[in-house]
């Protein structure tokens, strides 16, 4: 009777497989409810000392964009910042959403680390970010020219994330 030995073995392999996959998932990454939806309607003033704020209409002007949620008090944001500067240098439209930041600290951040953002909206009370489904900083969105959220990345971007997630999403967004 082979079944007596094969069946428990199969059950064990299936269970171990399922649990193994579970181990590789990060429970802090919450599936995005905003992917595929249109960006929320909003209009934010610029951060202190800048002239261009960010509004939903800026994200519906036909060009695919990257929207980065950042704050000067956020350490991982500092890690990913050079990558955003690099993206902007490649001619990609990158916008900033400044989450719950002191205005002068935000402008100081952009002055010292380099400003990759075409437009930067100051979300002082964090309400617009909540409309975007943001639950931590940094988060990065890829938005199509019509204003549809195509991709969302939670946490700091790595060069691999840019190459494997953000750039392909931009290509999809442009299609």
């Amino acid at each position: 009777m082979h079944l007596r030995f094969v069946l428990p073995l199969v059950a064990f392999v299936l269970l171990a497989g399922a649990l193994g996959v579970g181990l590789t998932l990060d429970p802090r990454i919450i599936p995005s409810a905003m992917k595929g939806k249109s960006v929320p309607d909003f209009a934010l003033p610029p951060v202190a000392g800048r002239t261009l704020g960010l509004a939903s209409t800026d994200l519906r002007d036909g060009e695919a964009t990257v929207v980065n949620v950042f704050a000067s008090w956020c350490v991982p944001c500092r890690v990913e910042h050079p990558l955003l500067v690099q993206l902007a240098r490649q001619g990609i439209a990158v916008h900033g959403l400044n989450y719950k930041d002191a205005p002068e600290r935000a402008s100081n951040w952009l002055d010292t680390l380099g400003d990759p953002f075409r437009r930067t909206g100051a979300d002082l009370d964090g309400r617009v970010s909540i409309d975007w489904g943001v639950y931590g900083v940094p988060e990065t969105f890829v938005v199509s020219g019509e204003g549809t959220i195509v991709e969302k990345h939670v946490g700091p971007l790595s060069p691999e994330d840019i190459a494997g997630k953000i750039v392909p999403a931009l290509e999809r967004a442009r299609r």
Binding site: P27, R28, I30, P31, S32, A33, M34, K100, D125, G126, R127, I130, D131, W132, G133, Y135, G136
Partner: protein, 158 residues
């Protein structure tokens, strides 16, 4: 003088002399009925930062913002369901501590009973098969002799 001031300051802090309207302090709704409804909704929503607490329990900044948003929605005339839907639209079913039964959550809801059923079935089959597999073995000659000695041949029923 300094230690005295420090002690007074500490006492002020410990007695909860928080300034009114300070950032980070919940502002309950004036109407106790509405506030009670808001609190009920808070208990149904999962905190995105602490994950296994409701936003009612959580001290996270975002949880406080969401509490305030729920209060505003309810103050503005939303039903409890509408206030919940407002948060779900932004963060998905993930924020519900009692997730709905639908295609994406079938595994979640049906998984445990199915596993229990299969396990029960397996145990049942195993036990049913086991009984005839272990027939009582006949006594050896030495055992039979010992039994006879203990019980006594004469007291056996005929």
């Amino acid at each position: 003088m300094r230690p005295l001031l420090a002690a007074l300051a500490l006492m002020a802090i410990m007695t909860g002399a928080a300034p009114l309207g300070a950032i980070g302090v919940d502002v309950p709704l004036a109407d106790p009925v509405l506030e009670h409804r808001a609190r009920t909704v808070h208990k149904l929503l999962r905190c995105l930062v602490c994950q296994n607490q409701s936003i009612d329990d959580s001290n996270a900044d975002l949880a406080r913002d969401l509490r305030q948003i729920v209060r505003e929605r309810i103050q503005a005339g939303d039903s409890d369901q509408e206030a919940i839907a407002f948060v779900v639209a932004r963060y998905g079913d993930w924020v519900l501590l009692d997730p709905p039964f639908k295609a994406t959550t079938w595994a979640l809801w049906l998984g445990p009973p199915v596993v229990l059923l299969l396990a029960g079935l397996g145990v049942g089959i195993y036990l049913r098969r086991r009984r005839p597999l272990v027939p009582p073995s006949p006594l050896s000659a030495a055992e039979a002799a010992r039994l006879k000695r203990i019980v006594g041949a004469g007291r056996h029923p005929p």
